[in-house]
Symmetry: D2
Subunit: 341 residues, 4 copies
Amino acid sequence: MTLTVGVIGAGRIGKIHVDNLRGMSQVRVKSVSDVAVDHLEEWAKEKQIEVLTTNYQDLLTDPEINAVFICSPTTTHATLIKEAAAAGKHIFCEKPVSFSVEETEEALAAVKKAGVKLQVGFNRRFDPNFRKIRELVQNGEIGTPHILRITSRDPQPPGIDYIKTSGGLFMDMAIHDFDMARYIMGSEVVEVFANGAVLVDPAIGEAGDIDTAIISLKFANGALGVIDNSRRAAYGYDQRLEVFGNIGAAQADNNRANTVEISTAQHVSKEKPLFFFLERYTQAYIDEVNEFITAILKNKEVICSGFDGLQAERIAKAAKLSLETGAPVQLPSATPSAVIY
Amino acid sequence: MTLTVGVIGAGRIGKIHVDNLRGMSQVRVKSVSDVAVDHLEEWAKEKQIEVLTTNYQDLLTDPEINAVFICSPTTTHATLIKEAAAAGKHIFCEKPVSFSVEETEEALAAVKKAGVKLQVGFNRRFDPNFRKIRELVQNGEIGTPHILRITSRDPQPPGIDYIKTSGGLFMDMAIHDFDMARYIMGSEVVEVFANGAVLVDPAIGEAGDIDTAIISLKFANGALGVIDNSRRAAYGYDQRLEVFGNIGAAQADNNRANTVEISTAQHVSKEKPLFFFLERYTQAYIDEVNEFITAILKNKEVICSGFDGLQAERIAKAAKLSLETGAPVQLPSATPSAVIY
Amino acid sequence: MTLTVGVIGAGRIGKIHVDNLRGMSQVRVKSVSDVAVDHLEEWAKEKQIEVLTTNYQDLLTDPEINAVFICSPTTTHATLIKEAAAAGKHIFCEKPVSFSVEETEEALAAVKKAGVKLQVGFNRRFDPNFRKIRELVQNGEIGTPHILRITSRDPQPPGIDYIKTSGGLFMDMAIHDFDMARYIMGSEVVEVFANGAVLVDPAIGEAGDIDTAIISLKFANGALGVIDNSRRAAYGYDQRLEVFGNIGAAQADNNRANTVEISTAQHVSKEKPLFFFLERYTQAYIDEVNEFITAILKNKEVICSGFDGLQAERIAKAAKLSLETGAPVQLPSATPSAVIY
Amino acid sequence: MTLTVGVIGAGRIGKIHVDNLRGMSQVRVKSVSDVAVDHLEEWAKEKQIEVLTTNYQDLLTDPEINAVFICSPTTTHATLIKEAAAAGKHIFCEKPVSFSVEETEEALAAVKKAGVKLQVGFNRRFDPNFRKIRELVQNGEIGTPHILRITSRDPQPPGIDYIKTSGGLFMDMAIHDFDMARYIMGSEVVEVFANGAVLVDPAIGEAGDIDTAIISLKFANGALGVIDNSRRAAYGYDQRLEVFGNIGAAQADNNRANTVEISTAQHVSKEKPLFFFLERYTQAYIDEVNEFITAILKNKEVICSGFDGLQAERIAKAAKLSLETGAPVQLPSATPSAVIY
């Protein structure tokens, strides 16, 4: 059986999904829409895209298309989800679902009503290192989790224009870590306390954002957690995670381009971490798409649901409020439907 | 020139200091006092201690004695410091100086007035790993520090009786980490937010303490920091530290008894971290005493002063208050005299 | 421009090449031949192979086909190379070129006469770890090489039937290491001394082969080298290499499926090496095909030539002779055309 | 009970033994002899040496002295052993016992006749890394050993004058590795093939020695081994060892002064190996003396016997002969008394 797919938004991440989808024998990438398409014509031809359009409605009204990938700016996500759901399309949506918990809830309601599948693009859930850690936790190999530590630092900040519309560090960058926290711990976050600073670039502060943060978490199961973020690590993309439990601990280190160690009169050195998300999460981007397609074809639960998207947004909102008020912020305990293991 | 030393309190740490002092050719360990000495007679003979007494005044009134090591319970420290200072003895005092900032301030005033040296027993400052990191920071090799991360976990909790009189996790255990934070960052802590939990042993909670903590810090220089603590790490004493700056990062891993790696059909494994502080900080205990003696003989500044002891206590108090109130707690910025670089 | 390719021999490695070739937009995999094809029909259909035949001549006579991949048994390689060269096809041939230096020389002469390209399948040259080491050596970052150490151990021996026709450990397995030795050192091997033993499985000995070896090498540039081989490493495929020079050393460690480290009361453990060549050299298999296609399209030198194949065979022969005679065996110094940097 | 000790030869290693012996409460270092003593007077006073003499006979005739440490040049060892044994003294002798297998055999016969203990100074047997590996092998944790790999490289060559009287690289430097090979494998070496080269310094070649070597070994139990040596590793003292068996492998890495890892825009780096034997084997030097003293006090077997010294010399001789003849050299299988486990 073949699944026909359309992609809305052909920026960097949209193009990656096209490549990964084309590598799957059960998938036909038929259509791509974007607000402007002239610059995409050559690319679309090379990728054998059949329909290239400025009107995303062309995808939603195409009865051949089974699923759409929403890779347009965040402000369009909720509307597109609602329309795609109404059109009966399965949906893969990049993170975050929206900048507003209410909008996200509405979008999820539309998905539920339509009975289509929605997967949110928290690609790191598919990273082999973090998957292994989740597996260890689930299998009880470290016992009851007590402490979670996430280090998540970008190699360089985005442009100031991007910063201004990004929703801020918590919603744009740390949201991946908030999702990872829930995913690894198998428990909801019930309290957030955030410290933030502008240490990387004053222009980020002038744009109303921070570039450095440490976020303390409390989980429903009683465990504690902490995330540290920076918009610029001189040595590259730093993506580490550690979970400490009553019978052991597991930690994931960065990935490197090779295993070579060089010893000289000065020091013993090895490669830096892989540069950024495209290099580090190459396999994760392939696997997240693969598993979304598989979830549709075999009618299974997606690994990263709309609810997961919603919960990460709630934590991001709480972190922002904590930063603004200088006080910890409580989140409601998850309802039974929120049990994530 | 030879320095004559007396040791007040011959428990585990007092005996270690005796051994390390005896290894120094410029030092004569003449006298030891403890509340009871019968059980110490054989030990004292073997160590060639000339005076073994239940009265610490015998040490303070002995004109031959140049310096005393205060290794008795914390509740006695401040009084002993004041008396020893009045007697003109140089003082090495185990941490913490006291459970009360006021008492500590009084003790420091007495030391200042007497013009004697006071070194506080923050042994970790002398650990080769942490020293190297401080050196890198001071030399600017990681640039301006942005983020500090300390992991400090014991292999097993002390007995409940000890817990009850310990001053609590922050004053008893994390105080080392508070000192390390100031030492590494070269900047005072100005805000503390502490999360705590009882996850290791309910009896610790019943004794009014916590056994697991994550403590967020803000520094006077604008940097952020975080400490995570547990009273029980299944795999042994976990003492790691990382500082992240604008041009690089430095991290210290645990020490192990050997470098052997074993590969089998199951996995690739290596030794656990060295068991506890006696194993991990063997060299640090030697070096802290060595440098105290050197500071006296060469009339140099001690590496870990009474003011350092006071500041760590203030952070511990603030952490406790934060835990009790559920809110961050501000500390006064350090006075000029507090500049620690 | 598109290159049309045929594959002779659709066993495990032939199929891998088909997959990797199909991932290249400039390549059309038109034809596949094998001695029997019934079991291949479904596979060929899925892979969109246009011609599936039992007669490899169908590929050589097809004017559309620009290049052939020879993935049939070693005993057929030399003949196929000669016929393919005569038909004007570029050739990718799996290692070894043949079991006979003379046959290989004849095949190379035919290639030279025809003016086609021939690349030999020493896939490890394309491994990111070993490439990095070669690059370091070439750039002088370790200075003049003095010592080369290669560890090359398989996770499990092949079947005894395979062993019997494999040409023996040196020709079948260590030949990769002989090629790597020349590639890394940029100098020819001039003397070989081999120790061998049957320690893994007596049946290997009964089949006339060894399963464990240590091979000492001397290079034309005066450096020394050593290779150790085993047919069975309990912990998986062990592929390490170290080169030691007058200003430094570089060593390549194994690759693992993830970076997770687990600490428990027993030990600190990590993943075993990736299981075998398919897992370890996934990227190398892609890159070797990529670079062969590029060499044709851009008319560049191939990275692993027929001469390289010949030299590795000569070393394998010398190693076998050394094992049989119990004495070191000299190889002729390479002619000027053999300079490999 | 106290043991009274005399030290013959107060060069670098003699002085280290004095320090380590003085750290033991059961030992009194009474006497030191050397060919000249004027420059030693201050040192001897500081170390509380009671007798400082140019006549080693003063030590052998002193009835108080129970044991002597022979730390004089190798050419004097055999004679001193014989005389000390005749005087009924227990003997610790630096390696090698002599440059002549016959002389060594005579010395061992004298020791046997006198019934005193003789320990040879193969300090590496006491290194925590290598001890752990031996323990793993003995406990069967890697199964039957198949392959042994030793890397042993000095940070810098000794002076040419020393080279000339050193007995050559095999007798002076690799002899430690020959002993380690027997110790780890628990089996005698039965064949040696040595390649050698002058790559570090032509002056070493002019002095009749080599500075780089790869030595292939066969063991009585059928296993194979290899040692690689260099007189100069730019990055410091390189002392690694790996043993590969049928159910696993164990490898010992170098030791470093701290565990700090530094990440910058250039690379990720850590400390070089500890500089040379004094830094790397500090603990081993303490332990070898400790265990010698314990062997005397408790009348136990020494860990490194005269026979061990003899066997290592035999291998060194065989390696030299192999290098000279360009052929492998057989050693007689060990007699039953040679069983070393």
